[in-house]
Symmetry: C2
Subunit: 306 residues, 2 copies
């Protein structure tokens, strides 16, 4: 099995996780979670989103979070920015080293999510992306629904590739390819990775997998085998699927890290401390989180045998 020696785990729980939880967590608690994640060794943490509080009330304290992020060396914080206004808010906070723009590969999902067309969304990023880079920020570009759309079904891979090329042309540093609704299966993931790797260097590609139908970790394995070295994940699998309330959300960080470490792949993360972050996340959102490894660890199973 041909696998990378090291993988970068991009923690998205405080943003993608919390924005899909029904409860609103206190700012101080969010910051405690971010700190616990950083202390577990997560070197990239997406902390919040500068979208309108009208759309995502759970992250209405984005400015507060960003201004109070713990200063820890080797940790890079990120925040979503949907437009120039969001970027301006993000740039007020030196701690936000990465800003992320987002667009869907499916027209319908993009309109429902952003209230505008894909073309118009990309046009607006023509101002946002270069401005972010001029301000010294790294820019991530999320492409959603690459594996499928809850409204359109199959999504033409060419659309995702065209969007990716446009984002790269604008200056996006890293593309995060999203199986937003968790419909992906391994053969499809293999095809998607192969096409993207034909068009872009591996180091600018990340996979953002959801576990709605249980396939996230199997898809991550396929991505690893294809040569992908950056994976998004959410502590405890926090979050959910807006299209199926009660279903699992993001790939759980602990499950991903357990698999990676079990294959001898370095992540820089301490799995035991990550479980503590999961315990805290579970307490903050007031429910048992779906991550398998976290549940086993909290139930008393050791990391592995004995």
């Amino acid at each position: 099995m041909d696998l990378p020696a090291r993988v970068v785990v991009q923690e998205v729980g405080p943003r993608d996780g919390l924005q899909n939880e029904p409860v609103t967590v206190e700012t101080a608690d969010k910051l405690a979670l971010v700190r616990t994640l950083a202390e577990a060794g997560l070197s990239r943490i997406e902390a919040t989103s500068f979208v309108s509080p009208h759309w995502i009330p759970q992250l209405a304290d984005a400015g507060d979070v960003a201004s109070r992020l713990p200063h820890l060396s080797g940790v890079e914080y990120g925040a979503l920015v949907p437009n120039a206004r969001g970027l301006a808010r993000a740039l007020a906070h030196p701690a936000v080293g990465t800003v992320a723009v987002f667009v869907s590969a499916s027209e319908t999902h993009n309109r429902r999510n952003l209230n505008r067309s894909v073309a118009e969304t990309l046009r607006r990023y023509e101002d946002v992306v270069p401005a972010a880079r001029r301000a010294g920020r790294r820019v991530r570009g999320y492409i959603s629904t690459v594996w499928g759309c809850p409204w359109e079904g199959d999504v033409d891979l060419k659309r995702a590739l065209d969007i990716a090329r446009e984002l790269r042309r604008q200056g996006v540093d890293e593309l995060s390819l999203g199986d937003t609704v968790g419909v992906g299966t391994p053969r499809q993931t293999d095809r998607i990775c192969a096409e993207f790797l034909k068009n872009f260097p591996a180091k600018v590609l990340a996979l953002h997998l959801h576990d709605t139908r249980g396939t996230a970790l199997a898809n991550a394995l396929v991505g690893l085998q294809a040569g992908i070295g950056i994976f998004d994940a959410s502590v405890g699998g926090m979050g959910g699927c807006p299209y199926a309330p009660g279903a699992a959300g993001n790939l759980a960080t602990e499950d991903l890290v357990y698999m990676l470490h079990g294959m001898g792949i370095d992540t820089g993360i301490d799995l035991g401390r990550l479980v503590e972050a999961g315990r805290l996340a579970s307490r903050l959102v007031g429910r048992e989180l779906p991550g398998r490894y976290l549940r086993a660890a909290l139930a008393g199973a050791s990391a592995g045998p004995p």
Copy 2:
């Protein structure tokens, strides 16, 4: 990706699932579940276990279940037999086409599970296996803790291979290799499959994966790629881990089938009807089952997009 065109799914929920659930399900309800699974297209259903009711009270009605199994063409029922006495009980029921013996690759786990050594366990099967075959039954041999033992930790693969050879010598038709405590990761699974496939034809090998740490489906994918064509699974992921109450149990049948179908692999199973079996199983054990696909389906997500 080199994958088989067809895979056999061995449903073990009514046995391995129910024996690890704290509640005892009524015999009639078990039979309704078995029927629903069969009607969903499961062609192999492990229905019960002829162990002492003292050890597994949940399956104390083994004889009743076996005598009332629905007559459905193309469905093969199985039952566990720990010894000659269990076999005698099983053979009283013509519907039980397959009997399964079980032994651990780890000495400590075997002693805790069967109260005797591995050698003594295998010695006792010298009577059981040929007698079952003379009675026209197919014989499965479960080898537990191949990926690791909750007490001993790592387990020498040579032990599992030796046990497998002995079981085959006795006449066992099919070997089911168990990651009993769900510690396996893909590189390890690849090595285990490679070693077994060097020593045995693929058609006699099955994988029995637990999802305690979230890796079951990724391990199944590795098994498929290695050439394994039979996978054990439990409806809804019913069951659990006796060493970590609250943790996930067997690989969920729906998650496995969703992945297989998504890769164009035929199983003969109707996923929509399988969800109905999962809904019933969940009602019978009185809890939300951990299977991801089942949860998403019950939460209103469609099978795939749209």
